[in-house]
Subunit: 594 residues, 2 copies
């Protein structure tokens, strides 16, 4: 054993690791699988990485380190791990609040955990007292205090620094840092440490949003609404066409989305008591057209063949540039698009479900308006989008509705249809998962032919006194099922594999709180996998937006994924039509290799 190697024992875990002389304790802990909350990024100014040194050297702390330890009410045997260099064997104990926290990303189905690492952080500071003899500009004093020579200081923050409150001697100020390099704001202590974020799933048909506490990862409130852009066209294509007509139309669409998100943020702010200016960051997951329109970027290129996106990934933008009324310096990040055709809603869902991290062969199906499908085999990814239409989101269905309170979301048979509704309210309509259950039950009971024809003279599937499905409703679902199935089969064909080769199917979508997999299989919507291998994860786009809000590495992962996936355009595939027509049957996937 070399002389310059030591043992570090970590309590209470009793984990022992070897460390090189001079190695940083924070790095050693991370290597040992016990990452600390390096809140200030190892600048030695937040004090959150303090540990107790039970045995080992206790070098004399610098004034700031001592003050931080004392400020947390800790004893003289504590040190900041980010400043501690190992020079001998050490036994240490981590403190309850010191470890990096993990949060669950998705509540149902797959439940990956993520470390909380938001882009926005607040650091309390006391600036060096200015004097005539050290004519440092205040901004440079702040750079010194934050140990960030390259700090970006927008004019708003500079003005706060030059204003009287910040000049009161020895008064702590709070620097609101974005992505470690930019100061969003300078606040006084009264402002407190509150940091909230807004996660938005900007769907073509429906918009869902969450207000998230960026310190704890807790969802403070959530809300959903029909996309106000519906007034200008029910589907993506009609909205793109509308925007293409003239620039004012683009502005109208953008304004409708911005206004809706602002209203939703306002509602959640009111209900939760969280001031809007405490929302410093937002992540929006939407399909390619949605995020282009939200950013006010002309979509002519999406209107004209060969239908190219203008951008795939964007840096975080000032929310004010988009028009979002949050903190005046808040940022907004759009989940990246996969090349031109598959949107940020899908990359968000993929990172939320940890699709990339799983071994083996997996299929991801998002049952939204576009029916996007991603197939992963080892390290290779291929994706396509299908024109499933908004049937699963309850749109275009005579008694369809969003998956909100009062929606029929489960159905079975007991001498007639039996329904479960969201929040157990009297049934007001049918949401996507309810449709799947109803149609599968109707086929099983002989009320509906496998060809989609409603049996009997009434040509309606009567559900309750007030609710019924028409032949047209059934046809809409039938087309959607066929679109998804043919997309899945073409992707499998691309990788020369069959359903039996799939290790896992992940189904995402905002169309219900749970999906009866067996019913979806019997209709031919999903391939038939052994029990437990198909999971429904609900609105993964929203979960992904929340994840990108809470953990910056998820953004990089999404961008990396977006850059790597290859894309198949169904329109260019001669075998698609045939596959599609064969899929127009309410029956399980055919057995043969696709």
């Amino acid at each position: 054993m070399s002389e310059t190697s030591f043992t570090v024992e970590i309590l209470p875990d009793r984990i022992k690791v070897r460390a090189k002389a001079g190695e940083n304790l924070a790095d050693i802990l991370a290597r040992a699988g016990i990452p600390l909350s390096l809140y200030c990024h190892e600048r030695g100014i937040c004090g959150k990485c303090a540990v107790r040194i039970l045995s080992g050297a206790l070098p004399f702390p610098a004034a700031q380190e001592a003050a931080l330890i004392e400020g947390r009410g800790l004893g003289p045997d504590h040190r900041l791990a980010c400043l501690y260099e190992v020079r001998g064997d050490v036994v240490l104990e981590t403190l309850p609040g010191s470890r990096l926290e993990r949060i669950a990303v998705i509540e149902s189905g797959a439940s990956p955990m993520a470390f909380i690492d938001p882009a926005v952080r607040k650091l309390p500071l006391v600036l060096e007292k200015p004097s005539l003899y050290s004519p440092t500009a205040i901004a440079d004093s702040l750079r010194a205090a934050l140990r960030s020579p390259r700090l970006i200081l927008p004019l708003g923050a500079l003005s706060k620094l030059g204003g009287s409150p910040a000049l009161a001697p020895a008064r702590p100020i709070i620097a609101v840092l974005y992505d470690d390099v930019e100061v969003l704001d300078i606040e006084s202590e009264e402002g407190g440490g509150e940091i909230f974020g807004l996660a938005v799933d900007l769907g073509t048909s429906t918009v869902a949003a969450e207000l998230v506490d960026l310190r704890t990862g807790k969802v403070v409130d959530r809300t959903a609404a029909v996309n106000a852009q519906n007034a200008y066209g029910a589907d993506v294509v009609s909205r793109i066409t509308f925007a293409f007509e003239n620039p004012d139309n683009l502005r109208r669409l953008k304004h409708a989305a911005v206004q809706l998100i602002n209203d939703m943020a306002g509602t959640m702010s009111r209900r939760s008591g969280v001031a809007r200016h405490r929302i410093y960051d937002a992540v929006v997951a939407g399909n390619t057209a949605m995020n282009h329109i939200l950013c006010g970027v002309a979509v002519d290129s999406l209107a004209l063949a060969p239908f190219h996106a203008v951008f795939s990934a964007l840096p975080a933008l000032p929310a004010s540039e988009i028009g979002l009324a949050l903190h005046p310096q808040a940022r907004v990040y759009c989940a990246p698009n996969i090349k031109s055709f598959v949107g940020g809603d899908i990359t968000a869902g993929l990172v939320a479900s940890e699709f990339t991290a799983q071994p083996g062969t997996s299929l991801y199906i998002d049952l939204g308006t576009n029916g996007e499908i991603v197939l992963k085999k080892g390290r290779d990814f291929v994706t396509t989008s299908t024109a499933a239409g908004p049937a699963f989101e309850g749109m275009n269905i005579s008694c369809g509705m969003l998956a909100i309170a009062g929606a029929i979301h489960r159905a079975g048979w007991d001498n007639g249809f039996k329904f479960g509704t969201i929040d157990d309210l009297p049934p007001q309509g049918v949401c996507g998962t309810g449709l799947v259950d109803i149609l599968a039950t109707a086929v099983a009971r002989g009320l509906l032919g496998r060809d989609g024809r409603i049996v009997g003279p009434e040509k309606r599937l009567r559900l309750t006194d007030r609710l019924a499905l028409t032949q047209q409703d059934v046809r809409d679902v039938q087309l959607a099922v066929a679109a998804v199935r043919s997309g899945v089969r073409l992707l499998l064909r691309e990788f020369r594999i069959s359903v039996a080769d799939l290790d896992r199917v992940v189904v995402a979508g905002a169309f219900g709180s749970s999906l009866d997999i067996a019913n979806a299989v019997s209709l031919g919507l999903l391939p038939n996998l052994p029990e437990g291998k198909t999971v429904f994860i609900g609105n993964a786009s929203l979960a992904g937006a929340r994840l990108m809000l809470l953990a910056r590495p998820a953004r990089a992962a999404a961008e990396d994924l977006a850059a790597r996936i290859s894309h198949i355009s169904l329109a260019t595939r001669p075998d698609f039509q045939d596959e599609f027509i064969r899929g127009l049957e309410f029956a399980p996937y055919p057995e043969e290799q696709p």
Copy 2:
């Protein structure tokens, strides 16, 4: 001689240099003192670095290189220097337009030359034709065409990329690049290659501006006006106090400056026929308070002891954030302040006069409202500012005026005062250099005592039928002279040197088109140096702003200088009062060591 070393001969200069195998021809030329205009930064997409290979290898050019060479009407013996790797002896000839151009920075006095290297460049491009089979987002096609994976694309530029004109197949677009990394705009060919910049000297009393062609370095138009902020206080202190009173006042001051600069830009645009949206970049040189106010940054810290600046250097900001109505995506750069006390007007003047580059011991005096002085000895710099007041700018003087048409700017004696006026118009008032001449002449003729008292009962120095200087006017100049002289002497004392040790004195200021050095020496305004060692360079702040507009390295030089200079506060020097009172005499500097 090693095998891997070759000879490169450059015609028409007949310069021969050695080059290593694989070395880039553009680098070799720069090393030989013949830098080429590497307009696209050696990306091989502008074609401006083409040279003729008279002897040596002519490797087969890639399609784009061949197209660029052909596009310039050059023969097959031409290659792009930035792509040419030396693999044997080469004889080459540079083309007339290929060399990096130099421009004179200051017309009078010192005349350093600078290479033109503006922050804004226009690069014509043809984007790869999109297809269904290569679903690259248009922004990524642009990144590929510009060979800049890290390209920053603001939403405005993205929207242009998504708009129909940019989508027309094989139609060239023009990318307007800022600082090599950010796309300010996407233009169509019709826009042409025009690139203009705005240089502004934002003085406390007067504002001067130039419209500059960033391709040629030519000043297209210039204009000057009284600072509209005068309505809120004639000097810096009264304006800071006004702004400190309430935030609306700060906004008023900011608005006055922004409005004035916009008006000046509008005037020059009208007169020259240069559209305002062809102005992509601006540099503003102003003192600390002026640039804080222009940026809307609270100046409370400049109002309260110990009078600290909020910032010293700022990155280039969107002009729209400041409120300047130029190209919608134009940038504005503020010349950096030296610590808290000496402004960007001085750093601008220092880089314009190449003060730092000169060997030996030099003194820089800016005769503006604050009378800033910089002393350089070897690599050490020290600076101070004196409360000279605006007398030299014609302010507070009963018949004072700016150094504009009709101002008396020279005076002598021939049986009475004899005057020269700017543009030879009938005299309408006296500018700063005129004041110096008049007072020096009056002292020499016995009309004015060395103590500043006007001789004779009238207590006025009658100049013309309509113009005269009052006793109060003389006192104002006297105080200004004493402030500057005591500042100079204290700086000399700081470095323990005397006037005789000075190699050079550079006098800057917007107070006349030329300064009679002998008269200034006789009044005690300037130290007495041998003939030719004192130069007057006029409005060096404006020249410096122009230089930073035309040559980016000047910005880095100014920031470096600002960070390095040490500062003396006269207020903290116990010996200042004594020096000041001794300076209240219209007489040459005392001989003794200060």
